[in-house]
């Protein structure tokens, strides 16, 4: 499953927000990937998420695959739309 999001938080997906996201992603069995124009990353790895340097206003796609892919996507959607920021 996949879905696109626009990052709203002022500081993009850096630091703590990346950590919050990675932690949440790690709760699921499915593989979860973040795709951006600059490349893609394992959403469960805070380091890879930070390495993408996602800035405010950027569009990202989240792709989940596995037994709990729906729940995973919903959980991350909730996180991203609830304005994850610093």
């Amino acid at each position: 499953m996949e879905k696109q999001f626009v990052i709203k938080s002022e500081n993009g997906l850096h630091a703590r927000p990346a950590g919050v996201l990675a932690k949440r992603a790690a709760d699921f069995k499915s593989s979860i990937e973040i795709q951006t124009s600059k490349g893609s990353a394992n959403a469960k790895s805070i380091m890879s998420v930070m390495a993408l340097g996602i800035v405010s206003g950027a569009t990202i796609k989240i792709v989940t695959e596995g037994e709990d892919e729906r729940e995973a996507l919903e959980a991350l959607e909730e996180l991203l739309t609830s304005n994850v920021s610093e």
């Binding site: 950590g19 380091m47 890879s48």
Partner: protein
């Protein structure tokens, strides 16, 4: 002379001890045969396991010596160690690309370091340093090399390093390390924070210094100026030695007051407490012998993050401070968000006058679930120490009563859940709105103490924005209007027999501290560094003499007259 940037104040004199990190980058990629894959993976696994054990140990020891916030750096290192794209990725490439454990790890470490360093953010560059630190730790284990050890010297040294990692300074020899100089490093890096906490002078950004000094060269510098002198001539050395003597003498004089009571010659005893912002400040409180905490700002828990801190996270922080300060009292101020302090996860309507808007207790009463979570955390922590809880920005009796009712509601909830809550805890009002000062006689009937927040009280009383540079002369703690309000609050407290303190900057200002003492103030809460000098001052004065000043001062007509007269009186105050 080596110019750098000031990172931690103080005068440093010592012999150079150079630290140059051997870079791993020159090493060529080592390939292995398919038959050694398991052996290399096992090597990596054992290095990771040892690093994990070491980090756990460092976390425990830094928690004790430096506090929770510093140990958090190493918690972050543990997270890096466990990141699925770091070591686990390197482990996979031993097999996929037939790399030796060292090469696989190095490739992965360099990838993240170069990515993070290229990013336009000081925060991410600091993360690059974290990756480097943990990468180095793992490489040391793989190669059997020891970590650079800065924990054991026998004479005064100044560490001169290309860079320093938090791991290296986590167990610094604080007896003999007199200064730190690095070629790299921002002023906000963790290492500089540790240096300031340990009160070791530090300079960063001193280019090429490591290659230009020899071990044993004498080095002097003033951490506040940020210039290092190598092999100083006699004149310069004398200057630094005498500067250091002055600073040390003052320090020594103050140190002699540690453990002494804050008491006047004629026996008036008061409490000199510290203002703090995080549990990390506990070390500083101890060093300056604070008699408790008069203002624990809790905003740090709420700021710079993506979501509300959980009840447990708050509980742990409050508990740490309460336990750490026993047998003294800790006054926790409930969150003072709003005004100039915003939270990304809490929608606050844009206001034209945020300082007159939804802040402090107003915000809490409009967002009760958040407030109740904090009250629960504070009450749970109350079991572990001596607690005072204080509400900011109260301007009416109704607000105080409503906040107290919520506190009671939460207390009953906890008791029903069989959670221990202290039997005796005090509830106070932070007096910072002039209207609250004027109705302090009423408020005093409903609380256990007042703490006068003079920084905001001055701003509201004089209607002067304290951030506005052109209005600086109008923002004066000596304004007769301000001092009359303060006096009125103290008198209201006395009448109802509750204690009263000041937690603004004036508590640490010698002139005004003496006036407040004369007015009968019970508690002075200030930046911890001011505590011992103020104790020294109080111990040399007579309370009855100071009492006689009050009437005269309150009858003066302007801030400048009052300031002038107090300065004069200060000279005669010592008996």
């Amino acid at each position: 002379m080596f110019p750098g940037r000031s990172a931690a104040p103080g005068i440093a004199i010592g012999k150079a001890f150079r630290v140059q990190h051997t870079s791993n980058t020159a090493r060529q990629t080592e390939n292995i045969s398919a038959s050694s894959v398991h052996e290399e993976q096992a090597k990596l696994d054992s290095a990771v396991e040892r690093a994990r054990l070491e980090l756990r140990e460092i976390i425990n020891s830094t928690k004790k010596s430096l506090g929770q916030d510093e140990s958090a750096i190493f918690e972050a290192h543990l997270m890096i160690l466990e990141d699925p794209e770091f070591v686990a990725h390197a482990r996979a490439s031993i097999e996929n690309q037939l790399l030796s454990a060292q090469s696989a790890l190095q490739t992965r470490t360099e990838y993240f370091i170069s990515t993070f360093e290229a990013m336009d953010s000081e925060y991410m560059r600091a993360r690059a340093a974290d990756v480097k630190d943990i990468g180095q730790r793992l490489q040391n284990h793989l190669s059997g090399q020891a970590c650079i050890d800065l924990s054991n010297f026998s004479e005064d040294v100044v560490i001169v390093a290309d860079e320093l990692s938090p791991s290296e300074v986590s167990n610094l020899d604080t007896k003999f390390v007199r200064g730190l100089i690095t070629e790299q490093g921002g002023r906000t890096s963790h290492v500089t924070i540790i240096a300031r906490t340990l009160e070791i002078p530090m300079i960063v950004g001193a280019k090429d210094i490591v290659s230009k000094v020899s071990d044993g060269d004498l080095i002097v510098f003033d951490g506040e100026v940020g210039e290092a002198f190598v092999r100083p001539d006699a004149e310069l050395l004398t200057k630094f030695v005498s500067q250091k003597k002055q600073v040390d003498a003052l320090h020594f004089e103050n140190k002699a007051l540690i453990g002494e009571a804050s008491i006047t010659l004629d026996g008036r005893k008061v409490v000199l407490a510290g203002n703090i912002g995080t549990p990390r400040d506990l070390v500083v409180l101890k060093r300056h012998d604070a008699e408790g905490v008069g203002l624990f700002r809790t905003e740090f828990l709420f700021m710079d993050r993506a979501s509300m801190p959980s009840e447990n996270e708050q509980f742990e922080a409050y508990k740490e401070v309460l336990q750490g300060c026993m047998p003294h009292m800790v006054v926790i101020r409930t969150m003072d968000i709003g005004g100039d302090k915003e939270l990304s996860y809490l929608k606050i309507e844009k206001e034209d006058n945020p300082f007159l808007g939804v802040r402090g207790i107003r915000l809490c009463l409009q967002n009760k679930p958040i407030f109740k979570t904090q009250l629960r955390a504070i009450l749970r922590a109350s079991h572990y120490g001596k607690l005072g809880i204080m509400f900011p920005m109260v301007s009416s009796l109704e607000e105080l009563l409503e906040a107290k009712a919520l506190l009671e509601e939460v207390r009953i909830e906890l008791l029903k859940e069989n959670v221990p809550v202290a039997k005796h805890l005090q509830v106070g009002v932070m007096i910072e709105v002039p209207a609250a000062a004027l109705i302090s006689d009423t408020l005093a009937k409903h609380c256990d103490f007042f703490s006068i927040g003079t920084n905001d009280l001055i701003q509201y009383c004089c209607a002067v924005d304290r951030m506005n540079k052109t209005l600086v002369p109008l923002y004066s703690p000596y304004h007769p209007g301000v001092l009359r309000l303060v006096y009125q609050v103290i008198q209201s407290a006395k009448k109802e027999q509750i204690w009263v303190g000041v937690c603004g900057e004036i508590a640490g200002n010698p002139n005004l501290a003496l006036l407040l003492l004369g007015m009968g103030l019970d508690e002075f809460s200030m930046s911890p560094a001011s505590i011992l000098p103020i104790r020294k001052l109080f111990r040399s004065c007579s309370y009855s003499h100071l009492q006689s000043w009050v009437k005269e001062i309150l009858e003066l007509q302007s801030a400048s007259q009052i300031e002038h007269r107090l300065t004069e009186l200060l000279k005669t105050a010592h008996v």
